[in-house]
Amino acid sequence: MTWTDLQSALGEHGYVASGDLSVALHLALTLERPLLLEGAAGVGKTEVARTLSLAQNTKLIRLQCYEGLDASQSIYEWNYQRQLLTIRSAAEDGQTGKSVEDRIFTREFLLERPLLAAITQDQSPVLLIDEIDRADEEFEAYLLEVLSDYQISVPELGTITASSKPIVILTSNVTRDLSDALRRRCLYTYVEYPDRVTELAILKARCPEVEARLAQQIIGFVQKLRQEELEKTPGVAEMLDFAAALMGLGIADLTDDPAILQSTLTTLLKTQSDQAQITAEVAARIAGKAA
């Protein structure tokens, strides 16, 4: 399989990937390296992992990172309730000590969390580690260990080695710098906002019912809007919401009614100051230019 095959496979599932991204994904698959995707929110970083799992016909295992994420939520946790019950019933049967201990510290009593689940699948899953920049440095360091050896050690059980190497995709919104060690371990691609042609292709793939003229207007409008100085620049997901809103309202031309255009902007502008900045007049002007 070449990278163009991968690109068209993603395209069949409704994801229009740029050349750079396709090559990077192709390398991640063939070299079995994690891929780090950076870019602004809403450029389709998470979506690419989902589509890749569809295209590869494997499971998607997702780990959403947050400040203070720890081992019991990301790797494994013992099932304490079950352990307690087992110890109780064993005590009633007269069993004690070593035999009970051997029983309750087995895989049966282990609750798998995303990282452990990802390395114990029969078929390589896609492991999406989302917004790694939100997790703290300790977690990043732990992740390095997992990503380099693909094994996890549980003190009571011993080391669990990967039965199949997962396809790892890490995403980051660049809210903080990641450690160099992590960057070195990964392939890297910076995902930009799509250009006009690409975004039009995305809209056609996702909302085929939008007419060609309106689609042109929508993309033109959103691309112009991104050049304005906004607090939160609208991403691809917002653009699709905007198109869906226009379809729902049965609008055929953006320049028809400034009031309705203004009311649909709630799908694109997500902060109060952005909404105040893009008034009905400004929106109409941008729509006029885009048309």
Binding site: A24, L35, E67, A90, A91, G97, V100, Y188
Partner: protein, 393 residues
Amino acid sequence: MSRVTRFAAGDPGPAARVAGFIAHLRENGLRLGVAEAKLSLNALANVNAVLPDDCRRVLRAVCTGCKEEAERFDALFDSFWMDAGRVKQRVIPKPHVALNDDVHSTRDGTGQDTSASGTSTAPDTGDGEAESEGTGKLIATEQRNLSRRDLRDLVRADEIAEAEAVARRIGATLRDRRSRRRIAARKGDRLHFRKTIRRSLSTGGEPLHLLHKRRPDRERKIVALCDVSGSMSVYAQVFLAFLAGLMRAEKNADAYLFHTRLVRITEALRDKDTMRAIGRMSLMADGFGGGSKIGPSLKRFAESYAKRFVDGRSVVLILSDGCDTEPPEHLGSALEKLKKRGCKIIWLNPLKGWRDYAPIAGGMAAALPHLDLFAAANTLDDLAALETELVRL
């Protein structure tokens, strides 16, 4: 598009060329090792390496690690692979080393004489900052003051002891309580199931001993940057004592001085003998009382030391009056960059204590949006009073 580079006939082959390209990237500041060279070759074997665009994409995915590098990559790739000439040409020069930062000379980088009359070995009689004090105005001066000031004249040992106590209290206030991890503890707010169950095995499954865990307090690293330019010399005494005290009280604190350039004084201040520490610091603070380039100094800090010493648990303490000779945009972008490291930024400005003070000095106005706390501090008592404010951070 330019033509693909023609290599010499005696060229050993593609592997050597890729190794050469990695060396080329390394010379231009990308941090790459042998592992990356190997990975690049493996990666190239997986695509149609005859197509320049495919190679470009492959090498970009392998060799770059952040947005800045990805942006520079195209130019670097072109200069190595796409030039008509046989010899590689470096299009991107090494980062320009500003001459006047490291060279002791009375001539600045542009070749004009600075107005200070002395040299580093034969100081002029009047201290450089006397002029700016004489006018009764606090202005940032362009020149470096080349006279060596002995800071021991400024700071007394008993003040340092007092400052140490203040610094210790501030350090204790700045504990980071954000951790969501929990560790085993005698008195904790949650049960430590793992330990409790293990212990209960010996009592037939009856959890007689309940073991607890709690959130650990994490120490915050304090990074202090002190402005010692001419306009700040009045306050230097307090702040330097504070720095010296801080280094004694907090074992993982970090301290810097800046005027027209930035100096790390952490090691010097760790000297066991207090006065010797101050003496060592004054040797390093060559240029004390001169002009202030806050923006460039902080920028340099954000780009160099901050990458190693500042993280999400750091508190960056800037002690400065915000009178900058450079355009305010420098300061704004430097702080923005610093903020990206996830740290808290506190700016202590002695001028803020003045009546009717408004942060309208260009630099200060540019800095304000990036600050977590902007407070006044003229004396040690002021610093001690900060404690209550710091709790809220």
